[in-house]
């Protein structure tokens, strides 16, 4: 994925160690990161600066994370927001999303999870034209006919496999984690205790990759999966 400019991220987080860890990680992944250590600063920066996404801790000195998001949404700013929180009950998540957050990540989390979700958010924020055809190299998904073809061969997918592949295609080139897949494809908000997602992915992989020379669905160790064309420039 080539961007015309680097993506700007605003991080609102009061814990210094966490903030510098996230800042470092994101900078190394090619983002430009501004940091605010309390709620008032955070809201001020969010309203005056140009950001592609916000990462907001829920508990902040001065003004809490949810109220920043509410104030932002009240001004018609639709910058995608990822909420970080130590409050992980289902109710807390719903509160966060109702306040205007786009995704909710519970501490403790793996950095790869944070990065994957952030990328997914910014992808969503791109002008979304209604696509009926998703394509990667010679893999084609027709959303109208609900058909999948690779190199002119029809591929038969179960309904859930279809949804899974659609999600991966919509996030081509991005790492998606197991938790994200369980949330977005199956709508379950808890840790997968066993390898169910892996099994579904390997099942899908056997259908779209096994009989073809160039594999498209790859496993990223310790992080998740990525659908991309390894030979594309």
């Amino acid at each position: 994925m080539v961007y015309a400019r680097s993506m700007n991220i605003l991080l609102v987080e009061d814990d210094k160690a966490t903030a510098s860890f996230i800042q470092k990680g994101l900078t190394e992944s090619g983002y430009i990161v501004d940091h605010a250590a309390d709620g008032e600063d955070g809201l001020h920066l969010a309203l005056t600066g140009q950001y592609d996404a916000l990462i907001v801790d829920r508990m902040l000195p001065g003004r809490d994370g949810l109220s920043i998001i509410q104030a932002l949404r009240a001004q018609d700013r639709d910058t995608p927001v990822l909420i970080l929180s130590a409050l992980g009950a289902v109710d807390n998540r719903v509160e966060g999303l109702r306040a205007g957050g786009d995704d909710y990540l519970v501490k403790p989390y793996a950095f790869s999870e944070l990065l994957a979700r952030l990328q997914a958010l910014m992808r969503r924020a791109q002008p979304a034209q209604e696509q009926t055809l998703l394509r990667l190299r010679d893999l084609e998904m027709d959303l109208m006919k609900r058909q999948v073809r690779r190199a002119d061969t029809n591929i038969n997918l179960q309904p859930r496999e279809f949804t899974l592949l659609e999600y991966l295609l919509r996030h081509t080139g991005q790492v998606v984690t197991r938790t994200m897949l369980l949330e977005k494809v199956w709508d379950y908000h808890f840790d997968p205790q066993t390898n169910v997602i892996d099994v579904h992915i390997s099942r899908l992989r056997s259908k779209i990759d096994r009989d073809f020379d160039v594999p498209l669905l790859h496993t990223i160790r310790g992080a998740g999966y990525i659908l991309h064309d390894p030979e594309a420039a």
């Binding site: 992980g88 009950a89 289902v90 109710d91 719903v94 403790p108 793996a110 179960q158 859930r160 199956w186 379950y188 908000h189 808890f190 840790d191 997968p192 205790q193 066993t194 390898n195 169910v196 099994v199 579904h200 099942r203 310790g222």
Partner: protein
């Protein structure tokens, strides 16, 4: 004690009641008193009228002097009898003495009569006989009838009312005494009742104090009277029971947490220490780092599982409750696990009677079922069978996961719901011993008992929901 007694609601209520009751009694007895008094006056008036009539008749037939003579005789008779019943007198118009003492405001017209109640002293002054009877006291009253005769004379007839007055006074005193007695008794009763209530409340208060001091095992005393205090105590005891259970569960979680997290934390610490002696770019260092991350992830998983259990047990998250369609839930999970079973060479089928619903938290129910399915997949050997079912049985909806694995021996079935309990044959497989605890907590939250049964061979776990919702 006295002050506190006076401050009880029961005492105040009985005081009000005593006042009210005494008031009613006073009105009732008062009316008896007044009608008795009126009756007495009426009797006297009748006698006075008859006497006056006979004297008038005498005047009409005889002379004025014979009337005067008769009056004198009658007065002497009355005095001799020691009775002060009747006093008669005549007065002529220029003096108007009767009027002055008996009807000061209203001089009588010709041929008219008037009754009055006057003191004996005034009466004697009116008839100008201060020496008439010294035995009369100032307070004695008399009933008087004054009649105007022709030629300006007036005839006075009077009846001594002192005995009747004494009777009425006695009645009055008795009534007053009765009212005071009733009031005192009612108040005393109130004090007694207040004291009883205060004693019951004190017992509750003392127990509550002991409990607040930390002895959660204390309970309110319940007598066999089955009165409102007993019923209140029973409710309080149930509440205390629940609080104690929650406290105990909390204790258990903390204890277990400390115990179970100590091992992995120790392992993690060891690994990090070991990594200090390895060069940064060595394979060993990389491996240690990977392992340490894995340790942390496992810790987080255990931690999250414990939190989920605690949340389910505390009964929070009611906001996210809705009607959950079981056929959809079963189909979703069945489809999620179908491929896992296929990979493992296990026959897996899932069925749900269409249209079954329970009221609950979809996420928690799904989490509980995935725990059961995870277990089933883990312990069922290749070639075995697993079933996920939802079906209605009379008043109940049974949501069950059955497998053909080794099962759980009957004597261990209660124990497996406790946190961190892992049976011997499970120690070699991965897991934290929290799966079934969560299932139990979620089931309890939905008021659905969990039954573990022998699937011959294998284990059958059934969540029994009430279908009446």
């Amino acid at each position: 004690m006295i002050l506190r007694l006076l401050n009880t609601t029961v005492f105040r209520l009985s005081l009000v009641y005593a006042l009210l009751f005494s008031g009613v009694v006073a009105v009732a007895m008062g009316s008896i008193y007044w009608s008795a008094a009126a009756q007495i006056v009426q009797q006297a008036d009748t006698r006075l009228r008859l006497e006056t009539k006979s004297l008038e008749d005498l005047l009409r037939t005889g002379s004025f002097s014979s009337l005067r003579e008769t009056i004198k005789l009658r007065n002497e008779d009355a005095q001799r009898a020691g009775r002060r019943f009747y006093v008669y007198a005549l007065s002529n118009s220029p003096k108007q003495a009767f009027d002055e003492y008996i009807h000061p405001q209203r001089p009588l017209a010709n041929g008219r009569q008037a009754f009055a109640t006057v003191s004996f002293a005034n009466l004697l002054r009116a008839i100008d006989q201060a020496d008439y009877g010294n035995q009369q006291s100032e307070h004695d009253m008399a009933r008087v009838l004054v009649t105007t005769l022709p030629d300006g004379w007036q005839l006075l007839a009077a009846a001594d009312m002192s005995e009747q007055q004494a009777l009425l006074d006695k009645l009055y005193r008795h009534i007053l005494l009765a009212i005071l007695l009733i009031f005192a008794l009612a108040t005393f009763g109130g004090v007694l009742m207040g004291y009883g209530v205060l004693r019951r409340i004190d017992s509750v208060r003392q127990t509550a104090d002991t409990i607040m001091d930390g002895d959660l095992s204390q309970r309110m005393t319940v007598t066999n009277r089955n009165d409102e205090f007993d019923r209140l105590s029973v409710v309080l005891n149930r509440m205390l029971q629940r609080i104690e259970q929650l406290m105990q569960a909390m204790h258990e979680v903390t204890d277990n947490l400390a115990h179970d997290l100590r091992h992995p934390l120790n392992r993690l610490r060891n690994r990090l220490e070991a990594s200090q002696f390895e060069p940064f770019d060595s394979d060993n260092f990389q491996q240690l780092q990977q392992d340490a991350l894995q340790d942390v992830d496992d810790l987080i998983k255990t931690f999250n599982a414990l939190l989920s259990i605690a949340q389910a047990e505390s009964g929070m998250q009611r906001n996210e409750w809705s009607t959950v369609a079981l056929d959809t839930l079963v189909a979703d999970l069945g489809e999620l696990y179908e491929v896992v079973a296929e990979e493992a060479g296990i026959h897996f089928n899932y069925t749900a009677q269409p249209g079954l619903t329970v009221y609950g938290n979809r996420q928690l129910l799904a989490q509980a079922l995935t725990n059961l399915l995870d277990n089933a997949m883990k312990y069922t050997p290749s070639g075995g069978e697993i079933q996920l079912q939802a079906q209605q049985q009379a008043q109940h909806i049974a949501l069950s996961v059955s497998d053909s694995g080794p099962g759980i021996p009957a004597e261990a079935r209660q124990r497996v719901f406790e946190r961190f309990v892992r049976l011997d044959n499970a120690r070699s497989t991965p897991g934290n011993g929290l799966g079934l605890s969560l299932v139990k907590a979620v089931a309890d939250l939905h008021a659905a008992p969990v039954r573990l049964a022998d699937n011959q061979p294998g284990l059958r776990v059934v969540l029994v929901f009430n279908a009446a919702i």
